[in-house]
């Protein structure tokens, strides 16, 4: 085969025919979901879709670039309240969404500055502090948070003769698809390589021409954009937001999703989102067990399967591919 052709082949999305078939089935299943699934399942799928966006964003930062951050809830809050205010001012949904992401990205760059000096646990603590500060700001400044009553957010208008819930599901499905594709593209480009290079050997990245400042801040900006959009989409689903929603547990939830789903994996991010939506749902009557399951999840992953749920799936696939030889 011609060399140039083989590069093209390498760079293609979903290279193996079987992957393309599975992907097509998955997309068809998701598009058809509202026809055969009850409404509460469609709602859960909507949540998984929006959480996937935030988890992918956090995975870009934590998993790919190796910058451990605990400021997730702050970016969710910034996204949600920006979105809420912009909607109240009359901006259409897409613009309000973009605004929410953009402001979160901007703040993300500011939060990224300590990452130029701090590493590992020190950075984690600094970002944790930032998260707590933002939480306090929203709790204490009623002009931002809408005070005791919070902010009410208008529902999406039903389109194409669908119900409101189904309209929302399709909009979110479209968005998560777009975010997933862009993420795949980014991580397989020079940007993704720079991120992973910084994580694996920052000094070597630098002497090979990767500008640490630029790429660390870019990682913070991009991940915060995703997380801001997640916050906005969450606000839209809830229809009403107050600062209490965006507490430390919400930061931990996204972190758990990244680690349990699979560090530095897009498929893992989606599985991780599924995990943190499914666990509280399955344990609806035992809420207090949820953090315990999360903690256990992280422990098990770190001990047995560092690549998370996605790593487990890869191994299973390998097992069946080589079957019956092992």
């Amino acid at each position: 085969m011609d060399l140039i052709e083989s590069y093209r082949e390498d760079l293609r999305f979903a290279r193996r025919p079987i992957a393309r078939v599975l992907l097509a089935l998955l997309v068809a299943g998701l598009v058809a979901l509202p026809w055969f699934a009850p409404d509460h399942l469609v709602f859960l799928a909507t949540l998984v879709a929006l959480y996937s966006i935030g988890v992918m964003g956090q995975n870009l930062l934590i998993g790919y670039t190796g910058q451990i951050s605990f400021a997730q809830a702050a970016f969710l809050a910034i996204g949600a309240f920006t979105f809420g205010h912009l909607r109240i001012w009359g901006l259409p949904f897409p613009l309000a969404l973009a605004g929410a992401g953009a402001l979160a990205a901007l703040v993300g760059v500011l939060v990224g500055f300590p990452s130029l000096r701090l590493k590992g646990p020190y950075l984690a603590i600094a970002t944790l502090g930032f998260g707590v500060a933002v939480y306090q700001v929203f709790v204490n400044f009623e002009a931002l948070s809408g005070g005791r009553t919070g902010l009410a957010i208008a529902k999406l208008k039903p389109m194409f003769g669908l119900s409101a819930a189904h309209t929302q599901y399709y909009v979110y499905l479209l968005l998560v698809t777009a975010f997933t594709l862009v993420t795949y593209n980014l991580v397989s480009s020079y940007v993704g390589r720079a991120f992973v290079a910084i994580r694996d050997a920052d000094l070597a990245a630098e002497v090979n021409g990767v500008n640490l400042t630029r790429y660390k801040l870019l990682a913070f900006a991009v991940s915060s954009f995703y997380t801001g959009v997640h916050g906005a989409l969450y606000a839209q689903v809830l229809g009403h937001i107050d600062p209490q929603i965006f507490n430390l547990l919400e930061s931990l939830t996204l972190f758990v999703a990244v680690v349990v789903g699979g560090i530095a994996s897009i498929e893992g991010s989606i599985l991780g989102a599924l995990f943190v939506i499914a666990v509280p749902k399955l344990l609806a009557d035992y809420r207090e067990l949820v953090p315990i399951i999360y903690g256990l999840g992280i422990l098990l992953v770190l001990m047995f399967e560092p690549l998370g749920l996605y790593g487990g799936w890869l191994k299973t696939r390998l097992y069946f591919r080589n079957w019956p030889f092992r």
Binding site: N185, N208, G209
Partner: protein
């Protein structure tokens, strides 16, 4: 004649420890210069100063007439200086090919929108450059392997390939053959020789294996306790009384 790299009266101290003390040397265009010296004599520190990782206490470093002082390692890489590390620093979780592609990073136009939209003309162009290096260093069998899974000798080659991928004018190799078998050393010697012949890259390398160093180098500089004690042809330097004393005394 001013060399490609001019180091003038360079000093570096860590608190009380003087790692480098008033070292001057010049690396001439397209020569191969070896730096030798016992453990802790400041060889790696010298490389770290040149590549912007350490900030010298005093002195000057000029590359192609422009000062490198105060520049970040990535700027120095862009100026055309590449290096390998004494203790390998590979991107372990990337494939061998991707490690080399990071070496191409500084040649990318870096269009974020194009990256997000999967426009890959540039990527393909750079991949073909990496393939040339992969072929040159016999890395084909491992091009898609995780770098961290490769044997030590291969990892050394990958790091050399990554440095070559930046298309440097000056290549710094910190103990390129330490830990290699005799056979691997021979191979490496051939490549370092070819790098100069085929790619016309100036090479500055640190080596403990004096036989290997004198075979490859045009000239040699010896350091001891951060001070330059000898300079000249490999034969001259190895016969120099100070050098003999430094090595025997160790």
């Amino acid at each position: 004649m001013a060399g490609l790299l001019e180091v003038g009266d360079l000093s570096l101290a860590f608190g009380g420890i003087k790692a480098i003390e008033g070292v001057s040397l010049s690396v001439l265009e397209s020569e191969t210069l070896a730096v030798i010296g016992p453990n802790g004599s400041g060889k790696t520190s010298l490389f770290n100063c040149i590549t912007g990782i350490y900030r010298p206490t005093s002195g000057a470093i000029a590359f192609h007439g422009a000062s490198l002082l105060g520049h970040t390692p990535d700027e120095i890489a862009r100026a055309g200086v590449a290096r390998t590390f004494q203790n390998l620093r590979l991107f372990h979780n990337m494939t061998v090919l991707d490690n080399l592609m990071v070496g191409r990073h500084l040649h990318f136009a870096k269009n974020l929108a194009a990256a997000a939209l999967r426009l890959r003309a540039e990527e393909i162009r750079h991949r073909s450059r990496c393939e040339e290096i992969i072929e040159f260093l016999n890395l084909e069998p491992v091009r898609k392997s995780r770098a961290g899974d490769c044997p030590y000798g291969v990892q050394k080659r990958v790091e050399l390939g990554r440095a070559l991928a930046t298309e440097p004018r000056l290549l710094l190799l910190d103990e390129p053959v330490s830990g290699l078998t005799q056979e691997e050393k021979e191979e490496f010697g051939y490549w370092v020789h070819e790098i100069r012949g085929r790619f016309r890259i100036t090479v500055l390398f640190v080596e403990h294996d004096l036989r290997f160093a004198s075979r490859l180098a045009d000239r040699m500089v010896a350091l001891d306790h951060g001070v330059k004690i000898a300079e000249g042809t490999p034969a001259e330097v190895q016969r120099h009384p100070e050098v003999v004393k430094a090595y025997v005394g160790n």
